[in-house]
Amino acid sequence: MASSAVIEAQGLGRRFGARTVLEGLSFEVHAGEVFGIVGPDGAGKTTLLQMLAAILRPSAGTCQVLGVDVRHRPSLVQARVGFMSQGFSLYDRLTVAENLAFAAAIRDVPQPALAPRKAELLAMAGLERFQKRREGALSGGMRKKLALCANLIHEPPLLILDEPSLGVDPLSRRELWRILDRARAGGRTIVFATSYMDEADASDRVMLLSGGRPLALGPPGELRARAQGRVYQIKASKAAGLEDALQAQPKVISFQRRAGDELRVQMRDAAPPETVEGLTAEPAEPSMEDVFTVASAGPGPPPPESMRAALGTEAPAHRADRSVIDAAGVTRRFGDFTAVDAVTLSVRSGEILGLLGPNGAGKTTLIRILCGLLAPTHGRAQVAGFDVARESAEVRARIGYMSQRFSLYPDLTTRENLRFFARAYGVARDALDTRTRWAAQRTGLDADDQKTVAALSGAMRQRLALACAIVHRPEVLFLDEPTSGVDPLSRYRFWRLIASLAADGIGVVVTTHYLEEATFCDRLGLMMDGRMIAHGALSDLTQTLGLQRASVEDVFLGFIARERARAA
């Protein structure tokens, strides 16, 4: 039924110079459908959406959007769709009302229709009270909601959204989807990119994208059915030897420790993994995340041997079980703005603390303070036994820091990067070689790789950045959003690396906005508006709220509600 197809793509592809970003995409999106595009950074999601919005010319194939060819009549497509790009796309110096009025005027919304639509959208987004506020002064979640309103004001038949809820707090994320549900009920077609598997699960159909090619396409239920029989769970509370046993089996694609005492295992074919004495692997209902893991592993070769070697633990390098971070009432203000508000926390050696929160919650600022890069306005903090404000040089010599944008030198090779960071951290000349080899081996890299960093994949760069952060054997490791934009499979491998480093006795602080990653941490700090609204093990936090089984998101929402109630 061609008439109901809002989008018809045939062999769609895009090259940038010699680099092929997208290739061979053929699919249809039907009227009224919610169509999710899932994949890691670099999979080509943004490129695809830009081509659908007719603001990027395809280099191969054809594409009809709303019955118009994007190549021949792009302006017709541009005028009729709603397109929300990644990040913030509105004018920060204009107020909420001005931004909406502007969006309406350039999209030919008739003057009489503006007022009622504006009122309805703002009410839906909970933004009525902020009409006179400048867009730049809104929270990240509010800015995203406003951008969505600006794209709904002309009532487009097709909405194209590029990672609408990336880095948005869980509450705003729910509100965002409530608005989208209304739009869908009004008959609008929604095409969106996401890295949140639950959002993918809630769509009508999903396309899994990896490396510019489609891995799978279909309704979530159907995709899950395809992975049926290849996902297992094992109930075991930190059973010694189990993880090593799983690690040794080539048929195991990946496994993850889930809340409490559960291990989830994805298999290359429909047969359960071998376990150790007294434990059984139960077949589990595949989630979208499992689907992606299974689909992206395919029947390909198992991960390289070096990766396996990396995961063994070695004799603890540091005295076990002592406090490596002690912070009390740490506050940081920038002018009137309080980025970090009276945060108290402690981390013991060998422990992984996960700092969770939306963009702008203060996670990065807190980490910078603990690294001795930024002095706190109030409060004090000790890291590895030294005061971060007064003895920041000593602190910095004993920590490893991996920032959001892996700070590597793209024109240097793996070895050159490692040697540079080793020297910068004051590793003795005669120890340089052994140190860099150790760090490379620990992270599953080849120390003699002649490729420059620019030629490495995202996941390889991520591991190299980690190697650079541990090359001087720090006592504490700070990882600021280390897994952002990496595909789920690589993310799990990375978390296994972190766990093995923690087992060596390193204290680890990790920030993330992927709430599901919380299950990899020993303890959690939930951050919101600069404050630590909850702190403790996930099971304890769940109990505190009086919940039985709850997702991390539910827990987070529970504490946000508590905060709001307390403030009110």
């Binding site: 940038f16 830009q50 919005a53 007719a54 603001i55 990027l56 010319r57 792009p74 302006s75 541009q78 005028a79 769709v81 709603g82 397109f83 790009s85 990644q86 990040g87 913030f88 796309s89 509105l90 004018y91 920060d92 110096r93 204009l94 001005e98 009025a101 502007f102 969006a103 005027a105 350039i106 999209r107 030919d108 400048r134 951008a147 600006a150 794209n151 194209i160």
Partner: protein, 364 residues
């Protein structure tokens, strides 16, 4: 072109600008700063240049010659040593710009009607002021002791700027330079900022057309540039009291056309680059440098090699410089200036069309 969309876009631009007091402050202050720096800083006039006099004659005639130099206003006495050597040292160390040697018997030879050699040495390190100083010196010497030296008596008059006051020449030139230097910079930053912040994406994915985008950006920034123009004109004509011989109204009218032209150059630049930094660099290279060096502002175009004369002609500044100096100094009107005005108008249209052609509502 849809007027409602166009105006909405311009209004948005005005709101944004008005909420960025720093940029608007810089936009209005920088031209004034540049005007003052250049008028006070670049003076082509030479006054009170230090002079060392070695008078070995010490006659009434030598004293009279010395007095004529010092009373001219172009030279002031730095030192009067007895030996030539210390005068040489003073020149060497850069303590004096010129040295005058009056040998023994100067007065006697003059009185006897013989030729009386005198030497004036000028420091040629700064070629242009050296040329002026030596010309002044020669003039004083020829006129000494005042009698007719030949039957030809040249009478040279300087028209349009009889006092050769360099300010009168610099200020109308600065109008052309300043209005080329700043308006495009601001405009180029404005569009590339939208690209950097990502706000351009919602412009792309909207019915707003190229023409509306270009015109919508042009209007508010041309407005700001016009305010800059009024401020610079006021500074030049009121503060520095440069007289306008021709029609002030014509000057303002052509000025308005000129700023529309320079603002559209900024727009064109912004369609070529992605970042604010690149926009700034390209704008500086495309506007500042030719405006200063190849506009005839300081170095006349007619003395340049042919190739550079052609290069100069590719920028609008020389044409407005012509108009500006023509109206201010010569009192010219439309009858004389229409070719230059036509060139500026044509240039503006070409640049706008190029900008609209280059501005694709596409990411890449």
């Amino acid at each position: 072109m849809n007027l409602r969309r166009l105006l909405a876009f311009s209004r948005k631009e005005v709101l944004e600008i008005s909420r960025d007091p720093f940029t608007i402050g810089v936009a209005l202050f920088m031209p004034v700063l540049m005007l003052f720096l250049f008028v006070y800083g670049i003076s082509l006039d030479v006054e009170n240049a230090p002079l060392v006099v070695v008078d070995q004659d010490k006659s009434p005639a030598s004293r009279e010659l010395q007095a004529r130099f010092l009373n001219s206003g172009y030279f002031k006495l730095k030192a009067a040593p007895d030996d030539a050597r210390s005068a040489e040292h003073a020149l060497m160390r850069g303590e004096t710009r010129a040295a005058l040697f009056i040998p023994k018997d100067f007065g006697r030879r003059l009185a006897e009607g013989q030729s009386a050699p005198v030497q004036l040495i000028v420091d040629g390190t700064y070629a242009s002021s050296a040329a002026i100083l030596s010309a002044y010196g020669r003039a004083i010497l020829y006129a000494f002791p005042g009698e007719l030296r030949s039957s030809v008596r040249p009478e040279v008059r300087v028209w349009y700027n009889p006092q050769l006051r360099s300010r009168n020449f610099i200020v109308p030139g600065l109008f052309a330079v300043i209005l080329m230097a700043f308006p495009p910079l601001l405009t180029a930053l404005a569009v590339s900022r939208e690209k950097e912040l990502g706000t351009i994406a919602q412009i792309y994915a909207s019915p707003l057309t190229k023409g509306e985008f270009i015109t919508g950006k042009l209007l508010p920034y041309a407005g700001i540039a016009f305010v800059e123009l009024l401020i610079v004109f006021a500074g030049g004509l009121l503060w520095f009291q440069v007289p306008v011989r021709g029609s002030f109204a014509l000057l303002v009218a052509v000025g308005l056309l000129y700023v529309v032209c320079t603002v559209s150059i900024g727009l064109l630049v912004s369609t070529l680059v992605r970042t604010q930094l690149a926009a700034m660099l390209v704008a500086l290279i495309l506007t500042m440098m030719p405006a200063f060096l190849f506009s005839g502002f300081v170095y006349p175009i007619f003395t340049m090699p042919k190739a550079f004369q052609v290069y100069s002609a590719a920028f609008p500044t020389p044409y407005f410089l012509d108009v500006s100096r023509g109206i201010v100094l010569r009192g010219s009107g439309l009858a004389e200036l229409w070719p230059s005005i036509l060139v500026i108008a044509g240039y503006t249209i070409v640049v706008c069309v190029l900008a609209a052609w280059r501005f694709n509502k596409r990411i890449a």
